[in-house]
């Protein structure tokens, strides 16, 4: 029935919106019934659990991490599950009466129900990962409920989420470590194998993580402040999450894992120190509040502290007392929250200074409040008294625990602090009751609320009384819980009357002291300060929060500059580091540099360098953009010559043409830019450039000349002609062997051209003016005559280069560049050419290149495979020629697009009307229609 119980609550979440549609705020009632049904399903299993069995249900869940969806029901789980479902049912049957009819309840009920399922999941989880999942879901639900629908809760919810989020991550860490170290995520197995697989060091890391998770969830110092902050949530939420259940998850976690850590004094000492400190601190703060919800919140903080301290004592009796206190606290604190909500609704205030004498108007409310407050104060015959007695007894017995080594003072100190806490608790409990219900009645027209409103508070208040009178009812479950947290079965004997024990004497002291504190309140408050204190912890949180944001802004400052140097600095550092590493690790002569290959340096290299170095120096020093461009072209030219001398005619030719076209395209653009006379020459840039140059040079030296020609080179040289029918191995690599790379590169050119077409040519109004800036009228006339001769020659050359490309230097790319040169010459000379537009060239070029890729697959080969066909007259042709034609067209298209867009030259009106109409239009859309036509 275990899974049915969880599934019932969990799946109901999906139906809440539907219920809300028909029932509105009354949806709480059916949900309460669901909770009770779920509890009943669990109770079916309870006889077995009470007889000492643990019920386990397990399914495969995430095999990758070996995580099972395991549910487990033992005494500890049963106790908590009953609280979750029982208090849940009460709060949900309270909410309909509490909520304003206009309140948006859909979200509230959905999240509340989801929370209940997740909380139930936590206590039923038999798997670490599953536990973690449910844990995080409760955090999230708490956040959503505190944040509410509006603005008031946002910041409090944020604080709460950060604090509990830290705890969640901490638990995450603990869970992963446990899983990795024990090789299992099954909680029972973890405990079984812990002694052999978990070292003390492991536990010393895992322990603090679990403690952090529990302390944040259960609002222990110094993380306590989120809980009073969370009181902005509506009262049903406060009653359910922030009093009865959610905050107990931390206690549950400590109880669950305490068997692992009972022998570690640091664990016990930490829990006791922080727990008792929190207990006293919380109680003091509660005493000083005027707002009833704040008071109850601090009271919860205090009580949680006591529970943590009890877990810290580490004896079986103390753990039993902690479990008992969990139950007692859930009963009286939920009651009090609900009653405060009632008072708030009826009297319109939660401020102790404004409330008085409600006894007369609302006697039943007063009586119930009295019962709950007495339980909280630890007065007999209520369950709170029994729990407190057990707590005192356990604290006194601290020396019995293994970790204290029998030092008597530990018990005395712990009990003394606990008595102080109890006295303060008595005082503020008395104040709630006395402050609200005694004194003169100042408000008129106050009535007892309807019994429907009161009933949910009535049940736990009376339950507290029944269990107080007959605490023996709890013996079984408490005993079973003790076994679950790692102790041998003991027979508890919970009872109202233990005779005149030490614990009773301590109780009497606490009550006496508490009475003094209450009745001499004025005196106490003079010492404590009359006004509720401003909590410091949230302010510290805010300071850290905003400090972190500011620090983050500082860290991210580099992202707010567009200075290139800043952004490339890191790369430079990495490369320099790599160079150093290379120098160290690469074996060989000269710290990583291979020996010089004899004959690789030629006398002509000196001549080349003699031209290259001054050109680069002038290039770096010139202030004229045009001069820089020309010099850059010159440098390219020299390198092309160098490449030619090294025996790479195809590469040299390509480079030469690219350099030429670059100058032609860029010159008119640059000529229109203002000359920056004030460009500073940066020493940093110079140094960087030299370092980059030296490192690059060394890298080339280091990485080349280490081997003979590669297998691949040998293969190409030996086989290319046979395989492709082409004798120019460079071209066969480009179009046959690595046609895909070429296809990619021409796609890049296509995209570049697309970018040029897309750029609305806004600046090119006075296109003819640009020409006159570069060339005089006379020069232009000469050029025109020359051009008429040169252009046809260039086109013929392009055709020849294209055709022979497979066998001799040339090919589609080079031919395209030559044809592009013709277009460029025409452009400079102002001659209009009757060739297709850039747009048409590009589209057809890429289409042809892509189409040729599919010839292979269509005839049963591979994509881009060159297919040979024997044509009668011309001989053997391959489909790579088609591909190369596509390349050619794209290259010409790019050159054309560049000239049109960047120079705005060489286009007569006819061309402009065809595809340049966008020049006049501001937007790309208009241009689009122009081109599409």
């Amino acid at each position: 029935m275990l899974v049915a119980s969880l599934a019932l609550v969990g799946l109901t979440t999906f139906f809440v919106p539907l219920l809300v549609r028909y029932l509105g705020r009354f949806t709480g009632y059916p949900l309460a019934v669901v909770f009770l049904a779920s509890a009943a399903l669990l109770l079916v299993d309870s006889p077995e659990v009470m007889s000492g069995e643990t019920i386990v249900q397990s399914w495969q869940w995430v095999a990758a991490f070996d995580v099972q969806f395991t549910l487990r029901l033992n005494g500890l789980a049963l106790l908590f599950a009953m609280l979750v479902l029982g208090v849940g049912a009460l709060v949900l049957s309270y909410a309909p009466q509490y909520l304003d009819p206009s309140y948006e309840v859909g979200r509230l009920y959905t999240v509340l129900n989801l929370f209940a399922a997740a909380m139930l999941g936590i206590v039923l989880s038999g798997d670490l990962i599953l536990l973690l999942v449910f844990w995080e879901v409760t955090t999230l639900c708490s956040f959503l409920l505190v944040a509410g629908n509006g603005t008031a809760g946002a910041w409090a919810a944020t604080r709460a989420l950060v604090i509990t989020g830290i705890g969640g991550l901490s638990l995450f860490g603990a869970v992963v470590l446990l899983a990795v170290k024990t090789q299992t995520t099954d909680i029972a197995t973890v405990f079984a194998v812990a002694p052999e697989r978990l070292t003390t060091t492991d536990l010393a890391i895992i322990g603090p993580l679990i403690v952090l998770a529990a302390f944040t969830k259960s609002a222990q110092l110094p993380f306590h402040f989120w809980l009073p902050g969370a009181m902005v949530a509506i009262t049903p939420v406060s009653a359910y999450l922030h009093a009865a259940t959610l905050v107990k998850a931390g206690i549950y976690l400590l109880l669950l894992f305490s068997p692992l850590f009972l022998d570690m004094p640091a664990w016990n000492l930490t829990l006791m120190t922080f727990g008792l400190a929190t207990a006293v601190f919380g109680a003091f703060q509660a005493l000083r509040q005027r707002d009833l919800k704040s008071l109850l919140a601090y009271s919860t903080v205090s009580q949680l502290g006591t529970m943590v301290a009890l877990v810290g004592v580490g004896t079986s009796a103390a753990l039993a007392a902690a479990a008992l206190l969990v139950a007692a606290h859930a009963l009286f604190k939920a009651t009090l929250f609900m009653l405060v909500g009632i008072v708030d609704r009826e009297a319109g205030s939660r401020d102790l200074a404004e409330l008085s004498g409600l006894w007369r108007a609302m006697p039943i409310t007063a009586a119930l409040t009295g019962l709950a407050a007495m339980s909280m104060a630890g007065l007999p015959p209520l369950v709170g008294f029994v729990a407190k007695e057990e707590a005192f007894y356990s604290f006194l017995d601290t020396p019995q625990a293994s970790w204290t080594a029998g030092q008597e003072w530990t018990g005395i100190v712990a009990a003394a602090i606990a008595v102080l806490g109890a006295a303060l608790t008595f005082a503020y409990s008395a104040r709630i009751f006395g402050g609200v219900f005694f004194g003169p009645l100042t408000q008129r027209k106050l009535y007892e609320p309807s019994w429907l409103f009161l009933a949910p508070a009535f049940v736990p208040a009376v339950a507290g009384l029944v269990l107080g009178v007959a605490p023996g009812l709890l013996n079984g479950i408490i005993d079973r819980t003790t076994v679950d947290v790692g102790f041998a079965m003991v027979q508890s004997d919970l009872s109202l009357w233990h005779g005149f024990s030490t614990a009773l004497i301590l109780s009497i002291i606490a009550i006496t002291l508490g009475s003094i504190l209450h009745f001499r309140r004025r005196w106490v408050m003079r010492w404590l300060g009359e006004e509720p204190p401003t909590p410091i912890a949230p302010l510290i949180f805010d300071r850290i929060w905003y400090g972190t944001l500011r620090f983050g802004a500082k860290v991210g400052r580099s992202a707010h500059t567009t200075s290139v140097g800043v952004h490339l600095f890191g790369v430079g550092v990495l490369l320099l580091g790599l160079a150093i590493i290379g120098f160290v690790v690469i074996p060989g002569a000269g710290g990583g540099l291979p020996a010089m290959i004899p004959g690789s340096a030629q006398p002509v290299d000196i001549a080349i360098l003699a031209l290259l170095v001054p050109a680069v120096v002038f290039l770096a020093r010139t202030r004229s953009a045009i001069a820089a461009l020309v010099l850059a072209g010159f440098v390219g030219l020299i390198i092309a010559v160098w490449l030619l001398l090294l025996g790479a005619p195809d590469v040299a030719l390509t480079l030469l043409l690219v350099e030429f076209l670059t100058v032609v395209v860029a010159a008119p653009v640059l000529s229109r830019l203002p000359v920056h006379r004030d460009i500073g020459r940066s020493t940093t840039a110079a140094i960087s450039a030299i370092v980059v140059g030296v490192v690059s040079g060394l890298a080339v030296w280091a990485f080349t000349g280490r081997r003979e020609a590669s297998d691949l080179s040998e293969y190409f040289l030996a086989e290319a002609e046979e395989l492709t029918g082409g004798t120019n191995v460079v071209n066969t690599i480009l179009v046959d062997f690595r046609g895909l790379d070429t296809l990619g590169e021409v796609t890049v050119l296509f995209a570049a051209a697309l970018g040029l077409l897309a750029a609305t040519a806004v600046t090119i109004r006075a296109r003819q003016d640009a020409v006159t800036e570069v060339l005089g009228a006379g020069e232009r006339a000469v050029l025109r005559v020359g051009a008429r001769v040169v252009i046809p020659l260039l086109f013929i050359a392009a055709l020849v280069l294209f055709w022979r490309g497979h066998d001799e230097p040339g090919g589609g790319f080079i031919a395209g560049l030559v044809a592009g040169a013709a277009v460029a010459v025409a452009s400079i000379a102002g001659i209009s050419l009757r060739i297709p537009s850039a747009f048409a060239l590009l589209a057809s070029g890429l289409a042809i290149a892509l189409a040729s890729a599919f010839i292979g697959p269509l005839v049963g080969g591979a994509a881009l495979e060159p297919i040979k066909v024997d044509v009668p007259v011309v001989g053997s042709l391959t489909s790579s020629l088609i591909f190369d034609l596509g390349v050619l067209l794209i290259v010409v298209g790019l050159v054309r697009a560049a000239l049109e867009r960047l120079d705005g030259l060489g286009m007569d009106d006819e061309d402009a009307s065809e595809d340049g109409s966008g020049d006049d239009a501001p937007s790309a859309t208009n241009q689009a229609t122009g081109v599409a036509s």
């Binding site: 990758a64 991490f65 304003d100 206009s102 879901v137 955090t139 999230l140 509410g148 603005t151 946002a154 910041w155 409090a156 989420l161 989020g165 969640g168 991550l169 995450f172 860490g173 992963v176 402040f225 902005v232 707002d291 919140a297 509720p532 805010d542 300071r543 929060w545 905003y546 972190t548 944001l549 620090f551 983050g552 991210g556 580099s558 992202a559 952004h567 490339l568 890191g570 790369v571 790599l578 590493i581 690790v585 890298a699 080339v700 590669s710 297998d711 691949l712 062997f737 690595r738 990619g744 796609t747 890049v748 296509f750 697309l754 890429l846 289409a847 892509l850 591979a862 994509a863 599409a932």
Partner: protein
């Protein structure tokens, strides 16, 4: 299921690259028409279909190879569909599809050049995911980048152009460096076939030469210390483009780093230490930067840096376990980050600004966008039951397995920052006081806290929301703007609720990455 491997190898794999290009030509000619836009959606769907077929074909560790142009293995450029590539194809085509829907809703579809540019870009991205040739990878990256320069500057504002200039220079630097590294690798090994390079990193000279490529790719992936360009550029273009870029472009860098590092280097080399340090630095610096940013996309972009650290750290941790974590995290992150960018983009589009200070309380006006943000933010933070939880679990698991205290602690502590920055966005944009109701204040000054503590009250208690009467919500949302982000967030939730299948796939992919024998044999061992 029966998948025709021959069909995949002959048609489907090459089409992953060629298909988008064909579509690019068609849409280039058609211009801004409904048909173009439809094609823009059809292509990612087609690639998604191919990726599913590939996943099915490769989920048992098999490798599908297409030796382009039919040359023998080692000579030809090989397109390879292994599980990692197949998953990346799937997730990126999914993102392209959702981002395209968003782009159209945001009005970018009327730009005549938008669809062809995106198609060319995505063709390059898909190609990069399947190529097994280092030089071809360079080419594919270029194919993806050039259209991105266009898209980056298309917004036309001065800030966008400034950012585009920086973007261009940084990426050209990275490309140059990539090319130089390729030269070095070829210089020392005589091959650029990735399979042929497997394991060669143990030779110091190859290790260092490959190091140049790794640095170039780190710059593209924005790993610390080469990260700062990313938040200086991404937030300044249009939101749809940022979403596309975040899901595609930096991810190529990340993908290539995973592939190359796992293939070339062996565990325990010096590179391990360097990568771990860079990743941890990325986690920390990225999240701090995110906390300090003042715009939605600024926060999200800095986050990418942090998350790249989370993704890549597994490459050098704990072998197959770490690599499985990498694969899962990469997929999760790509989905969730795109979702956040899309939702953030919706806000920017509808409200006209992404500056957090000028926004607030949008939960009422944009309930669906708020929900999408909440879900995605939770996933990013790693809260169950979202995919981010399993992703983080994978990283922590790998770190604990490898005994790396540094990574383990960093992964946990940085998560607090992730949570914080998501809360900053959440409380600054979606909850809190709507704009106009809040005084203009300098966000960095503590006085800004008025949104919180003072109204909430130092006593910790304030208005009981139950009785607060609030104005009826003004619901205003355009479905097509909001749904893409929400859909991705829901996918993350779906993965989180039933993570088994993706974890199992990641496991297999991680195994293959850590033991690449099948990959190497497939690529080098003869024809298709």
């Amino acid at each position: 299921m029966n998948i025709d491997i021959a069909f995949l190898s002959t048609w489907a794999l090459p089409l992953v690259f060629l298909g988008p290009l064909i579509a690019a030509v068609i849409t280039f000619v058609l211009g801004a028409s409904a048909v173009s836009r439809f094609i823009g959606l059809l292509v990612p769907l087609g690639v998604f279909a191919v990726s599913i077929a590939l996943v099915i074909a490769t989920m048992d560790g098999q490798v599908v190879v297409s030796q382009i142009a039919g040359w023998p293995g080692g000579v030809a450029i090989a397109f390879v569909g292994d599980l990692f590539s197949a998953l990346m194809l799937g997730v990126s085509s999914l993102l392209v599809f959702t981002s395209m829907v968003f782009s159209y809703a945001a009005g970018l579809g009327i730009d005549r050049w938008f669809v062809p540019a995106v198609l060319v870009m995505t063709g390059g991205v898909y190609g990069a995911y399947v190529t097994a040739d280092l030089f071809n990878l360079f080419v594919m990256v270029e194919v993806a980048l050039l259209p991105s320069y266009i898209l980056m500057s298309r917004r036309g504002t001065l800030t966008a152009l400034r950012a585009a200039r920086l973007y261009l220079i940084v990426n050209l630097t990275a490309s140059t460096l990539f090319l130089a590294g390729l030269g070095a690798v070829y210089g020392v090994t005589g091959t650029v076939n990735m399979a042929a390079l497997a394991g060669l990193g143990v030779l110091p000279v190859v290790g260092v030469a490959t190091g140049v490529v790794v640095i170039a790719l780190s710059l593209k992936a924005a790993l610390v210390p080469t990260h700062s360009w990313l938040p200086a550029t991404y937030p300044y273009t249009s939101p749809a483009v940022t979403a596309l870029f975040s899901g595609l472009l930096t991810k190529i860098g990340v993908y290539a780093l995973v592939r190359i590092i796992s293939l070339v280097y062996e565990p325990g080399q010096l590179v391990t230490v360097i990568v771990v340090l860079a990743c941890v630095a990325s986690m920390v610096i990225g999240v701090l930067g995110a906390l300090g940013e003042g715009t939605i996309r600024g926060v999200l972009t800095f986050h990418m840096i942090s998350q790249v650290g989370y993704i890549l750290v597994g490459v050098v941790l704990a072998g197959a376990v770490g690599l499985a974590a990498v694969v899962f995290y990469l997929i999760h992150h790509t989905i969730v980050k795109t979702s956040l960018f899309l939702t953030g983009g919706t806000v920017e589009h509808e409200e006209g600004t992404g500056i957090i200070k000028r926004l607030g309380g949008l939960a009422r006006a944009h309930p669906v966008a708020s929900l999408a943000f909440l879900l995605a933010a939770l996933s990013l933070t790693g809260i169950p039951p979202f995919s981010g939880f399993w992703a983080k679990l994978g990283v922590l698991n790998a770190a604990a397995d490898a005994g790396s205290v540094l990574v383990f602690a960093a992964a946990l502590i940085v998560s607090v920052g992730t949570l914080g920055s998501m809360l900053k966005l959440g409380s600054g944009v979606f909850w809190g006081t709507p704009k106009g109701m809040r005084e203009e204040e300098d966000e960095e000054t503590p006085s800004d806290v008025t949104v919180g503590p003072e109204t909430v009250g130092a006593t910790g208690v304030a208005i009981d929301v139950a009785t607060a009467v609030e104005a009826p919500p003004v619901t205003r949302w355009r479905p097509l703007l909001v749904i893409p982000g929400l859909a991705l967030a829901l996918i993350s939730l779906g993965i989180g609720l039933y993570p088994e299948w993706l974890l199992a796939l990641s496991d297999t992919a991680g195994q293959s990455l850590s033991e690449p024998t099948a990959y190497v044999t497939a690529v080098l061992g003869g024809g298709s």
